[in-house]
């Protein structure tokens, strides 16, 4: 069984975000970039399924400029077999990303597509659901457990009230939540080996898709600042403040 995994290059989750003063975006120069953590979980899951003998080939995909090859090298070092970069310098929004992935699904005919549930930069949480809709496939979102069988895949989803268990007909789209697994560390031999694995580069315009932005970002602004608080000396003072000053408890 072949699996496609989508990976996005984003600002590393440990970086403190700074909004540019001209309100056009956030600072990205000299800033550490990494694979979106949820996508890392998706790659890890694909590799695990391969180690269990349930998956035969893992194809990692990224959409973006040349630097996304670094992200794909990480996926290859984790255990993906080959990679495809859809190269573009345009800003790709979720609907466009879903269309690109739909196109690759037609070409690669996988039984399963794994993606992170959201990218930690734009926080949209849309692409997987959109892809499933475009393909008219079953979808399992925010998944914390996967059991892959011959014609179905059982998933556990993290929902607002707890957990939901579904059985999805294959082919299916699955988006990953944090507790699905713990991505592995990269070993040096694997990093070296990944250098020899192929990355196919396809210019976006050769796919002949309408990927224009439907959402216009008018400006990016910093959040409102909270006023600075105080330190209290002990529990008694805390309770006193909460009762008399803040009046949030009685």
């Amino acid at each position: 069984m072949k699996v496609l995994v989508a990976t996005k290059r984003v600002i590393d989750y440990t970086v403190r975000i700074r909004v540019k003063s001209d309100e056009t975006g956030v600072e990205t120069s000299n800033i550490k970039m990494s694979m979106n953590p949820f996508d890392e979980i998706a790659v890890e899951e694909a590799v695990k399924l391969k180690e269990q003998g349930k998956v035969t080939e893992i194809v990692a995909i990224s959409i973006g400029d040349k630097t996304c090859q670094e992200t794909l090298r990480v996926a290859l070092a984790m255990g993906a077999d080959r990679a495809i970069l859809i190269e573009t310098t345009e800003n790709i929004q979720p609907l466009a990303a879903a269309k690109i992935l739909q196109n690759l699904v037609k070409r690669e005919t996988p039984q399963l597509v794994l993606l992170g549930k959201q990218a930690i930069d734009s926080d949209h949480n849309q692409t997987g659901q959109m892809l499933a809709g475009l393909l008219n496939w079953a979808q399992g979102t925010f998944v914390s457990k996967i059991e892959l069988k011959d014609t179905i895949v059982d998933v556990t989803r993290e929902i607002d009230g707890g957990l939901q268990m579904l059985s999805l007909q294959l082919p299916a789209v699955i988006t990953t939540d944090l507790r699905l697994n713990q991505p592995r560390y990269l070993s040096l031999p694997n990093i070296m080996q990944a250098k020899r694995k192929p990355i196919e580069i396809i210019p976006l315009d050769t796919l002949l898709l309408d990927t224009t932005s439907r959402l216009h970002i008018l400006k990016i602004t910093p959040p409102e600042k909270r006023h600075t608080g105080i330190k209290v000396a002990n529990v008694k003072e805390l309770i006193d403040k909460l009762k008399k000053e803040a009046q949030v408890i009685t």
Binding site: D123, G140, F142, G161, K231, V248
Partner: protein, 312 residues
């Protein structure tokens, strides 16, 4: 111009998030209809009819819609959506699951997790875990939107007359996915996203047994219990307690963070709380940067004193 809200419910009752979505809808211009998809959900339908300023309640009640899975419900919504300018859902795991798929079926973009309506087609939404905000203009002919509940007041007033019902009798079967089971956290406490007071615990609690201190405090104060990702991952608390960028977003009157360091991913879910209290023995913990009242102390000492004082 008209607006369609997709109701969120469990076949028994409407979820409180609908009241917030309704407030957002009222800030747009147009008549508001609501769609109830489910199975044997009479009580939900009646509550929907009583919501303020609802023109019409659409009802799709069939066994095929019992678990409201996206494979068929997204199609059902898409068919109805064509008559509307706006289609709204709450930005809950339910809304996030269904509405992007619906939008894609109509080849349309969607704006998720809106915290402010700026004009008829322009919205504010957080990005980078709330460390920046994007002002987004959506040019699509149907505006698909999900609404962050904490950013809009609840419209809980009910209407004196019942809105009329219109039955949708097309039944779309779901042959792609099957519901097996669900495990819901049963709690007598207020719902996390709606509670006036939230007490959250983090890794500092050290084990599940100690985490009960958080629950005891919450019960004394009539609050809900939250947790950091580290606390959930370590098994101190169930997954649906997680507050943060990738968990729940809360904005209570009082949020007490105990043994939580204050990672940006956690702050994303609680920094709009009115009053924030942090208890942590590390004076440099980032949680203190946003706390109104910070107490630098061992959490076990502080909480036992707190419990004793509150019991007085």
């Amino acid at each position: 111009m008209s607006i369609l809200i997709i109701a969120e419910h469990d076949n028994q009752a409407l979820k409180p998030c609908n009241w917030h979505t309704l407030t957002a809808a009222q800030q747009l211009t147009g008549d508001i209809d609501i769609l109830v998809i489910g199975y044997q959900c009479e009580a939900v339908i009646t509550s929907a009819q009583k919501l303020k300023k609802i023109r019409q309640v659409f009802v799709a009640d069939a066994k095929a819609y019992e678990h409201q899975l996206p494979e068929n419900t997204a199609q059902l919504i898409a068919d109805l959506a064509k008559n509307y300018q706006y289609v709204l859902m709450a930005a809950t795991t339910f809304g996030k699951n269904i509405l992007p798929r619906t939008a894609a079926l109509l080849e349309s973009a969607i704006v998720t997790d809106i915290t402010k309506i700026i004009s008829t087609d322009t919205f504010l939404r957080p990005i980078y875990a709330g460390n920046a905000f994007a002002t987004v203009q959506n040019k699509e002919s149907i505006q698909f939107l999900t609404i962050r509940s904490t950013a809009f007041k609840a419209e809980t007033a009910s209407s004196t007359s019942l809105a009329p019902i219109k039955i949708i009798d097309t039944i779309i079967l779901n042959i792609l996915s099957k519901f097996i089971n669900q495990i819901l956290t049963i709690s007598t406490r207020p719902e996390l996203t709606n509670a006036r007071i939230v007490i959250s615990g983090g890794r500092g609690l050290k084990n599940a047994e100690n985490f009960k201190i958080i629950e005891e405090l919450a019960d004394l104060l009539g609050g809900a219990v939250g947790a950091s990702r580290a606390a959930v991952d370590a098994g101190f608390a169930p997954n649906d307690y997680q507050v943060g960028q990738t968990g729940k977003v809360v904005a209570p009157d009082l949020y007490i963070a105990i043994g939580i360091s204050g990672a940006i991913q956690h702050l994303a879910g609680m920094k709009d709380s009115k009053i924030i209290v942090a208890i942590n023995n590390d004076p440099d913990a980032p949680i203190f940067e946003i706390a109104d009242y910070g107490l630098v102390e061992d959490l076990f000492t502080a909480t036992s004193e707190l419990l004793a004082e509150l019991k007085k």
